[in-house]
Symmetry: C2
DNA sequence: GCAATTCCCGTAGGGTATACGACAATTGCT
DNA sequence: AGCAATTGTCGTATACCCTACGGGAATTGC
């Protein structure tokens, strides 16, 4: 087994890449000079995924965009999976969240809101994020910075350590999931060229042919109540989704504050 | 364009499949008899995905499991994507949620808990669910039943229609996301044969080599506070995740109740 | 000059979805 | 009985995907 340098094993290799400490002390002096840099590869992959979807960020496409052979990428990255990890942590790090000594909003709710805004903006710029797994995530600087920020915010609220941890996790779960949903929604509208209203409209005969009012009385009641009197398929509407997001986050924070 | 029967267009075709109304009135009398049924195909695909992961539910594998040629599947399903939609709605329908006239827990919190339990159990049986998109979901009976149930529960709480809708969406977002995370976590432990503790342990030199205490003071404080004094990488632990789920859901419900 | 080292990348193998078209089976009509 | 119409089956081919392997190119140290 070709041991790398620190602990050996694939996990250590991945960590080294994530934290960009591939060559800790000695530079490689012998041998051919690389034509690319790791960051260039990651940036290109991200750019491709951003504009043409995650499927476009294939090894072949990335290589083509860089003007090299496909297999060349494997000198910079051990596999497609590792490249994805690097892409993820890279964009997670885009979130401008104040670190330990830096200025931050005074109110703890405003602090959470900052996390929410930055996360939503990041997902919006990189909609493919919503499709990637967050369990066993790439433990890079991007993920840790967000954890630290949310955790410190819960401390500022005055929660005891264990509870602060739970609260931070719950908030992250809710915000990340909702942000992912929003971003994916936008992506689908862009890539299919079809608005959600149009999408629901296309499914119009659902209500006409399959929907049984007796089986779904409450849904029926809610639609009939619709104040705007607009589209009756409003459940999937962009605006309702955004409202639901705000509402849920505010209620969650209410509950957390009350649990102090 | 070979029009189907109701509205034409691919959306109508998908809806017809989801609601299993492929031949509304006239049976096909002419022509060769089919050897398979749509349900058989879907069940087989679900079973494969359950035990060997979503990647194992390829068209080729499903066909092989059924003892037919790959292309035969395309007489039952227009594409892989549609098959996935059918799989999703099929398992979502497994949730035993009482309908309009049926008995249900008296307390509204217990009603939400039932939704939570059933959803978590379903995700647990079908971990591949966590990886699929929920935006523009297959609008089948499974999804509608859940919407109706949660919505009626929010009505039982006494929320006005518009707010009940927002609350139901927020709860679904949180529960579905957390349930997906849990299920995926279990799946990864099973399929890789590596517990999360072992996974974190493998990344031990993160803390030794890369982690900067000054950059992450709050995380450091929380670990040092750990009452059990056990593993210091407890953030990803199964138990902590479950605790965070309960905590977040309870706080969300607190907030919703208080907003009445 | 030459060995050692490192990077580049063509080829090949095994995976995926699915378009096309030949063929089989079943029914209805002549 | 025979033939046309209809529908189901599925082999072949195309176009992707990831990546193991190995030969060749470039650079440095001796």
């Amino acid at each position: 087994m070709t041991v790398q340098h620190s602990g050996g094993g694939p996990a250590a290799r991945t960590l080294a890449l994530l934290w960009r400490k591939t060559q800790p002390a000695q530079e490689k002096l012998r041998g051919r000079k690389p034509t690319l840099q790791l960051d260039t590869v990651v940036d290109t992959a991200v750019a491709l995924a951003d504009e043409r979807g995650i499927a476009a960020a294939s090894m072949g496409n990335v290589a083509k965009a860089l003007g090299v052979g496909t297999m060349t990428l494997y000198t910079y990255v051990p596999s497609k999976e590792e490249l994805l990890d690097l892409m993820i942590d890279q964009v997670l790090l885009e979130r401008r969240l104040p670190g330990p000594g830096e200025d931050r909003p005074a109110d703890w709710r405003a602090q959470v809101e900052l996390y929410s805004d930055e996360t939503r903006a990041t997902y919006s710029r990189h909609p493919w994020l919503s499709g990637v797994s967050t369990i066993r995530p790439p433990v890079g600087p991007g993920m840790l910075a967000a954890r630290e920020y949310l955790l410190s915010t819960m401390f500022a609220l005055g929660l005891p350590p264990a509870r602060a941890n739970l609260a931070a996790l719950a908030i992250a779960t809710y915000v990340d999931s909702a942000a992912g949903g929003e971003a994916e929604s936008d992506l689908i509208e862009r890539s299919t060229g079809q608005t959600h209203d149009a999408w629901w409209h296309e499914r119009g005969d659902l209500w006409e042919n399959y929907f049984d009012v007796d089986r779904y009385p409450t849904m029926t009641a809610v639609w009939n109540d619709g104040e705007g009197g607009g589209t009756s398929y409003g459940n999937g509407t962009r605006e309702v989704t955004a409202q639901a997001y705000r509402f849920g986050l505010d209620r969650l924070l209410d509950g957390i504050a009350a649990s102090k």
